[in-house]
Amino acid sequence: MNRNFLAPSPNLARRHRAETAFKWFGRISIFLAVGFLVLMLAIIANMGLGTIRQTNIALEVDLQQSEFDSTNLASADFEGLIKSALRQNFPQVSSRSQKRQLYNLLSIEAPFTLKDFVLENPETIGTRISLWFIASDDVDMYFKGNIAVSPAGNVGRLSKEALEWVKYFEQNNAVKTFFNSRFFLAGDSREPELAGIFSALAGTALSLAVCLIISFLIGILSAIYLEEFVAKNRWSDFVEINISNLAAVPAIVFGLLGLTIFINVFGMPRSSPLVGGLVLALMTLPTIIIAARAALRSVPHSIRHAALGIGATPIQTVFHHVVPLAMPAMLTGAIIGMARALGETAPLLMIGMVAFIVDAPDSILAPATALPVQIFLWADSPERAFIEKASAAIIVLVIFLIVMNLAAILLRQKMQKKF
């Protein structure tokens, strides 16, 4: 045979083509996945990052001595002072509806800002002061360019006339954006420019704390028991199958369970982080158990034999040797379970954590809402400014998720021991 047996045959060429095609399929799928992820993040960032800055308007207010009762400064008509200050800028405004539009340029928070200032600086009474006030959400949206000018000349709820007044302020350098600390420090509000995520974050933190304590303890201990102590038989197979099934149960079903059991049967307070945490714990448990069992299984048997061989009891073997080795992977599983619980909305809706909560909950029994539910509520609102708030809250949520997943990866890399 003088045929070169190393030369490519048609058959071999076909096999190589199959490999090339598969590689390209892989590349295209990864490109699509990454592309959509980037697109999603870009859209959310574009819609939400504006929240970081808040439009303020400077207004000169005449603090006439006659308006204040020296014994009780707080009783003064601060709203009236703001209104007259606005009218002084635009003496031509006369009709009721025009006045209402003018007053709506500033947030309803303005009188309180003025009051706080006067109470802190009583010596300014009798003078003219210039102060920055939070603009209303309509003005804010106009300056951020989030709403297009309509053919009639108005921008959203800002009429053509109101737009002129806003431009007047702008020309007088009386418009400025400040860092929006309210968004991080305040609770929810009916007014978008005043709404913040603090109460939702507090509710999420409390719920996750309850969830972590319950699901980590129960999850790790059940995993250890199932993996290390239970004899493999039909009963243990049954439990195993059910745990796997539980991991695939839709989250809203757990919400229904929580509503029936925790609220209706046990009488726990509705809308509370306690019930929220318990429901999330039910949902997270299968994930943690499955991850922890896999972690325990990955510890080589030689370690168990070594400990048992010198007379350690099974429980000493497990807690002195096996669990410390499995711990990084168990913690990773727990963090990933927590990350899933962090973004969960549906079960919390079922147990009433969907209420309008202004103040941060001060205990696990107080009414609360959670960050994803807050996003749901804001995204459901008609005001354009709430959409921006919702997007910003999503950014916060995504940052938390990334941080938690990074923590899981770092933990795994740092704590992993060779054996």
């Binding site: 370690i303 070594a306 010198i310 007379g311 350690a312 002195h320 040797h321 080795l325 021991k417 060779k418």
Partner: protein, 280 residues
């Protein structure tokens, strides 16, 4: 165990048509470990058939035989490591210093403190060298003070011929040592809890010849204080280190006696065939 009982010849009539070879029990006057009619089943499969085997104190006994012949299963019966296998069932009895270790009132955990085991693959804990040796003493509360613990760790490492190599790095992980050193660390860990008997399951099979030589030397030294039962695949090793040898084949004890006799003048044809390499 009384002397009369030992003097009684052991029943040598074949069971289940399988030839059971006489245990030359008369040779061992005062056995520390003694198996009587030991049978082991894995579910329905029988792994050991009526084993009768005695071990003399402070001697090295090798268990040889082809893979799957049941020698490791037999070894694990002596410290009840077989208990950990759900499907494993043991019949007959094993006595240690006259005490039946399969009796209901025997605690397997207590037993394992007296019958140490060294495994085929070195398996130090992923903890420091010091902790590896100290762990057994800690759980059995064998020492009263930190200094006593440190002394006994040193003593154990010296007896395992490892002290000179690790004395300056006791805080480093046991897993950072070489394979041979790890195995000697495992031996140090075993002898630290003062067992009477040490079981070794092919302790040198994963090691290079130099490390093997060190382990063999160590076994020889340890045999002055401990009864050592070692499973080995290497007949040369068995010949070098053991005073007694037992040959297992297909779950039966084929022949047992002085190592010299087994290797130079085996009574059974199967032993002869195995030693000369015709079965294996």
């Amino acid at each position: 165990m009384s002397a009369e009982m030992l003097a009684t010849p052991i029943d040598t009539t074949p069971v289940d048509c399988k030839p059971v070879i006489a245990n030359p029990a008369g040779k061992i006057k005062n056995p520390i470990v003694s198996a009587k009619d030991l049978k082991v089943f894995y579910e329905d499969k029988q792994a050991l058939f009526n084993i009768n085997l005695d071990f003399e104190a402070n001697k090295v006994t090798s268990l040889i035989g082809p893979s799957g012949c049941g020698k490791t299963t037999f070894l694990k019966c002596i410290n009840r490591m077989n208990d950990l296998v759900d499907i494993c069932r043991v019949e007959g009895n094993v006595t240690i210093a006259g005490q039946d270790i399969y009796h209901n009132n025997v605690d397997a955990v207590a037993l394992r403190a007296h019958v140490g085991m060294v495994f085929q693959k070195p398996n130090p804990f992923p903890k420091s060298i010091f902790e590896n040796v100290a762990y057994g003493m800690r759980i059995h509360s064998l020492t009263n003070s930190r200094s006593e613990l440190a002394d006994r760790v040193e003593q154990s490492l010296r007896r395992a011929a490892l002290w000179d190599e690790v004395s300056d790095r006791l805080d480093q992980p046991g897993t950072s040592l070489s394979g041979g050193q790890q195995q000697r660390l495992c031996i140090a860990r075993t002898i630290a809890v003062e067992p009477k008997i040490i079981l070794m399951d092919e302790p040198a099979s994963a090691l290079d010849p130099i490390a093997t030589a060190k382990i063999e030397e160590l076994i020889d030294e340890l045999s002055t204080n401990y009864t050592i039962i070692i499973v080995t695949h290497s007949m040369q090793q068995a010949a070098r280190i053991s005073q007694y040898t037992a040959f297992f084949h297909m779950g039966e004890l084929v022949e047992h006696g002085l190592t010299k006799t087994i290797f130079t003048n085996p009574k059974n044809e199967r032993t002869q065939n195995y030693i000369t390499g015709r079965i294996g």
